[in-house]
């Protein structure tokens, strides 16, 4: 199997004067969940459309599962599953018929098709309601059904555009577990776009942050936190004086100090010894209740990146 599931080289796409994607170069390894993070209009959907061969790039190139998206769009779509911006469900048809349709489209033999439909509907808790028209369902249930449809033909690569959008917390957690299982047990690659940073942090081995059509950063969530968010020290206590905080700010290992009510957050430059910082506070009469070391969340890294690029 190709160790790189998706490769893009200076991939660009414009619509008239609007540059939707601008020179995106990416490598998505096989067998991982890759998070594609960005605000609305960043170019996430355009990227998926380009990778599925539904749109042609203005310049640059992309290969998916080793095949060029411009010349092998049909073969790529054959081996990929997709849940796009909209669920794409036929709302007048029953849930079962929606899956039956795509089972036929993917040419799954009838007996196997029925077994897979049953298994997917049972695992998503929709089996009992399979005879109801999908249009009568809540958004979360439709989303679950659309995910089931994307998994029906057991694709090698799965494109999921905001898959947990509209789902309740339990259903979203179940889907995340399902994705992790798919990747671990079947080696499926998942290309996931999401606004939910906590979700990306939980399931993605690698993420890319995109804004205005440009990739700002690629790496594992930990790498991103180290590169952009860095380490932090949170100290809960009483008697923080301006003088003590000023001394902390002068230290070379300190990137910034913020006081919020009864605690301060000290942003650090990488992995440093924090004992001297605590000693400064103690020496200036601060009564310390608790000291916590931590890292910035992916959401904070994301927001920092967005701020920097403004």
């Amino acid at each position: 199997m190709n160790s790189i599931a998706i490769h893009t080289e200076q991939l660009s796409r414009s619509f008239g004067r609007v540059q939707a994607l601008n020179g995106v170069t990416l490598d998505v390894p096989s067998g991982i969940i890759f998070g594609f993070l960005g605000p609305n209009g960043a170019g996430k959907t355009t990227t998926i459309r380009l990778l599925l061969g539904l749109l042609a790039p203005t310049s640059g190139s992309a290969t998916v599962l080793g095949m060029d998206t411009q010349t092998h769009g049909a073969e790529i779509r054959q081996r990929c599953g997709a849940l796009l911006e909209h669920t794409g469900l036929y709302e007048r048809m029953t849930a079962e018929d929606n899956l039956e349709l795509y089972g036929r489209i993917w040419q799954i033999p009838p007996a196997e098709r029925q077994a897979r439909i049953r298994s997917l509907l049972e695992s998503t808790g929709l089996w009992e309601r399979r005879k109801e028209p999908a249009g009568q369902w809540s958004r979360g249930m439709k989303q679950k059904l659309a995910v089931a449809r994307a998994l029906l033909h057991q694709p090698q690569l799965l494109f999921l555009d905001e898959p947990t959008s509209g789902m309740d917390a339990m259903a979203a957690a179940a889907l995340r577990d399902e994705l992790v299982t798919l990747v671990r047990q079947h080696g499926v690659t998942v290309f996931l776009t999401t606004h939910n940073m906590a979700e990306a942090e939980k399931v993605c081995q690698q993420v890319a942050v995109i804004r205005q059509g440009q990739v700002l950063m690629v790496g594992s969530p930990d790498e991103l936190r180290l590169r952009k968010g860095g380490q932090r020290l949170e100290i809960v206590g009483r008697g923080f004086s301006e003088q003590a905080l000023a001394l902390l700010r002068q230290r070379p290992e300190v990137a910034g100090v913020n006081q919020v009510d009864q605690h301060i957050v000290i942003e650090l430059h990488g992995e440093v010894d924090t004992a001297p910082l605590v000693q400064i506070l103690v020496a200036h009469g601060v009564q310390i209740d608790e000291v916590r070391r931590g890292k910035a969340s992916l959401e904070e890294v994301f927001l920092t990146l967005m701020e920097e690029e403004k």
């Binding site: 459309r49 539904l54 796009l84």
Partner: protein
């Protein structure tokens, strides 16, 4: 390819007719069509129904309308309901999607025509029984079968062409209805503008022409137009345009 076309036909029919919410409406429109063209009109015309070319126009007109209601939903309706992109992102080829959409509406309209042709013969034989079972004159039944097929194909390819570009199914329906009205009204109104003397000459000429020959020529012309429209629809069917329009 054939399996993909059958899948799409299954989907189109399933979506439109077999769901509970649409079943009543679907059965009602079919019953009206078949009731008028297969029972009411043959009863009015008597045994002449089996030899009159009037049936040709009735079957053609009704079947074209049946296709019209279905085909306008083909792409515009899918785009409107946000199901088109998922379909385009599947393994289905352009040809299979296009042919599946056309086949679904043509089989529906043409099937209705054939059903009403057969029912018309049964109605006449029951109501106006004279000896053994009488069937249509060859020109009539063959013309009915061929022209309703070609008419359905014409409306279907034209409908797909319009539906590919239209933002909503309603817009596609309105545009196609307008085209249909022009196609049928222009000759009718045009005839009224012609001086009476010329009209008589035309009618006299038409009465002397060989009907089989005229039907043959008309069928060839329709077939050429159908093929031309199909290729026009095929060249307009581009996934990128369908997503961005």
């Amino acid at each position: 390819m054939i399996a993909d076309i059958i899948t799409l036909v299954w989907k189109e029919w399933k979506e439109i007719f077999l769901q509970k919410s649409n079943l009543r409406g679907g059965i009602l429109s079919l019953a009206i069509f078949i009731g008028i063209s297969g029972i009411f009109l043959p009863l009015q015309a008597g045994r002449e129904w089996l030899s009159s070319p009037l049936g040709l126009f009735i079957w053609l007109w009704f079947s074209v309308f049946m296709v019209l209601s279905m085909v306008t939903d083909a792409f515009a309706g899918e785009r409107e309901r946000h199901t088109l992109e998922t379909l385009l992102a599947s393994r289905l080829s352009d040809q299979a999607i296009l042919l599946g959409k056309i086949a679904a509406s043509v089989i529906y309209g043409w099937g209705m025509s054939i059903a009403s042709i057969l029912l018309g013969a049964v109605t006449v034989n029951i109501a106006f029984r004279e000896g053994g079972f009488a069937f249509y004159q060859t020109q009539v039944w063959l013309g009915g079968v061929v022209f309703s097929l070609l008419g359905c194909l014409l409306m279907s390819t034209l409908g797909v062409l319009v539906s590919l570009k239209a933002p909503t199914a309603r817009a596609a329906y309105q545009k196609l209805s307008s085209i249909l009205l022009v196609l049928f009204l222009v000759p009718t109104l045009g005839m009224n503008l012609v001086p009476e003397e010329t009209q008589i000459k035309i009618m006299t000429y038409l009465a002397t022409v060989n009907l089989a020959q005229v039907m043959g020529v008309a069928a060839i012309v329709l077939l050429v137009v159908d093929v031309g429209l199909f290729f026009a629809a095929r060249s307009r069917f581009q996934r990128e345009k369908l997503l961005l329009d």
